[in-house]
């Protein structure tokens, strides 16, 4: 219960503020915030849920995008060669977001035209991913589809629309889930207010996903002082083996 209270505390505070200073809030077409701006990956991390909440100054639809850090992805295709399945084709993609979640108050095709969606990077088809080398369009499409499918399966692309719910005319909320394999880095959350097929207002807010505690220390140690890490791993194993021998010798 306590964890739940903490999660909803900002929302409660926000609602209270809205009630008290309703007049001032009306001046902003769109106000939104996250229940937390930090996702801490600790030793017992099993995934996280974030609450996005906010209000608009009147009727309209809301789209929210969460984007992770971008980088290069290698997509490989297995083919049957000599009777076994071997990685045969590969294609590198650049500017691939390592996390992408999308929520909207209505299905996207009811809200926006394709051009607007492309301009704002809304939807899996408009992520701005491009191949690192010249590739025939058919092959490009095939590998890009495979990439999106894999990311969706891993829970890192979450294009499900219709998750934003309105409480009355102006207050809205959306829940985002981050699975336990969520990549670390700086994320950006974009909230868009849509009226008559146009983006009427937009707001962005940052989100950090970071390893905290023992797990983070081990990861840092392994990457920054690889040799010392290797030595430590061996010493721990030697010690563990010796302790095991001592512990079971007399039994």
């Amino acid at each position: 219960m306590r964890a739940l209270d903490r999660r909803f505390a900002p929302l409660l505070a926000f609602l209270l503020a809205l009630g008290t200073f309703g007049g001032e809030a009306r001046a902003e077409p769109l106000v939104a915030d996250l229940s937390n701006h930090l996702i801490a990956i600790t030793a017992g991390f099993t995934g996280a849920d974030l609450l996005l909440f906010g209000s608009t100054d009147g009727p309209g639809d809301v789209i929210a995008l969460v984007r992770g850090p971008t980088g290069r992805s290698v997509v490989r295709r297995k083919d049957r060669l000599f009777g076994i399945w071997i990685n045969n084709l590969s294609l590198d993609f650049d500017d691939v977001p390592n996390y992408y979640a999308l929520a909207s108050s209505r299905p996207l095709d009811e809200l926006l035209t394709g051009d607007t969606a492309e301009h704002y990077g809304i939807g899996l088809d408009h992520l701005g991913i491009h191949a690192a080398a010249d590739t025939p369009p058919g092959r490009l499409r095939e590998m890009l589809d495979a990439l999106a499918r894999i990311k969706v399966r891993e829970g890192l692309f979450r294009p499900e629309a219709g998750k934003i719910t309105f409480l009355g005319q102006r207050l809205f909320r959306a829940d985002f889930h981050f699975p336990s394999n969520v990549p670390t880095g700086s994320y950006l959350v974009e909230i868009l207010l849509v009226r008559n097929g146009q983006i009427a207002s937009a707001q962005t807010t940052p989100l950090i996903v970071s390893k905290i505690g023992v797990g983070a220390d081990i990861f840092q140690f392994a990457h920054r002082h690889a040799a010392a890490y290797g030595m430590a791993a061996i010493l721990i194993a030697l010690l563990a083996g010796w302790l095991a021998h001592l512990a079971f010798r007399r039994v």
């Binding site: 980088g71 691939v96 392994a222 290797g230």
Partner: protein
């Protein structure tokens, strides 16, 4: 209870890891093998990336062979001179193997090569052991005496660089154990195993070492080869997961002790046939996976941005 593995970058139930460690440890205590050939496929099965599974498994092998070699040493069953010759070959082999591993990783073929190595070696060893074990069982039923010459002279005895190994009662070219060590070192790096399942039969049948000394001696050299693999994997690939290794070690040590006690109640030949069946089952399962159409022939790897 979930535990986050910082290098593998996923959460796994701690009791599942302890269970895998314990189960493999039980079999390793029962059959006197390291059990790495079972552990690595199991880890891959629960979602640990193959590269991390192999490197971490090598680290766990260090711990299990230390406790094993101490037990054999107290019974004076370790030929250190032979161990050092094996080790010289093993060091060279594992260094070459880790380099090869990095190269394969670059070309995206690590998974395939790990699987192929498993299928070929487990299939070969499993079949040989199964035939040998059933024959021995059959002989025992017939109560016929096992015929074997004390010294068989083969091409092996014509090689240069002869050395005397007192504890093993052998006078043989250092190139033979050195070569075996080199070969097992490569396997150790690529498969993440100690390699006892190759080394023990090779030392008995190829070199003619007494069986009582082979296991302790092979464990002795495996400590150093596995330590070398752990170190090189940590430096070159950053794929050793301390958290995972620790959980597996704790489970494995307990399992091995229980297995050792159970093993004392079983007959040698029966155990060998059982072990052979187990090895063959793993080989067949892996071969099947290679040949059957994967549920998704596509795979994707995300490379972190530079800096």
């Amino acid at each position: 209870m979930q535990v986050y593995l910082p290098i593998a970058e996923l959460s796994v139930n701690l009791f599942l890891l302890l269970g895998i460690g314990g189960g493999v440890g039980l079999l390793s205590g029962l059959f006197g093998i390291g059990g790495g050939f079972l552990m690595t496929p199991l880890l891959i099965f629960i979602g640990v990336p193959p590269a991390v599974a192999v490197a971490t498994q090598a680290n766990q092998v260090v711990a299990s062979s230390v406790s094993g070699v101490l037990a054999h040493w107290s019974r004076d069953n370790v030929d250190f001179r032979m161990g050092l010759v094996l080790l010289a070959g093993g060091f060279a082999g594992s260094t070459v193997g880790v380099g090869l591993f990095s190269l394969l990783r670059h070309f995206g073929q690590v998974d395939l090569v790990i699987n192929l190595f498993y299928v070929v070696f487990l299939g070969f060893i499993g079949t040989a052991m199964f035939i040998e074990g059933t024959r021995a069982l059959w002989r025992r039923r017939r109560r016929g005496p096992a015929m074997r010459k004390l010294h068989e002279h083969t091409w092996v005895h014509g090689l240069p660089l002869k050395m005397r190994f007192r504890k093993s009662r052998l006078y043989i070219s250092a190139l033979v154990p050195g070569g075996i060590g080199f070969f097992v070192g490569i396997l150790s790096a690529i498969m993440g195993v100690g390699g006892a399942f190759i080394m023990v039969p090779a030392m008995i049948y190829l070199v003619g070492m007494p069986t009582s000394v082979v296991v302790g001696t092979s464990l002795f050299q495996i400590i150093f080869v596995a330590a070398n693999v752990t170190f090189l994997q940590a430096v070159q690939n950053q794929t050793v997961d301390l958290m995972l290794a620790l959980a597996l070690t704790v489970g494995g040590v307990i399992g091995a002790q229980i297995g050792g006690r159970l093993g004392a109640r079983l007959h040698g030949e029966q155990m060998r046939v059982l072990l052979a069946a187990l090895i063959l089952a793993v080989a067949i399962a892996l071969a099947y996976q290679l040949g059957v159409k994967p549920s998704d022939p596509y795979s994707a790897v995300w490379l972190a941005p530079e800096g």
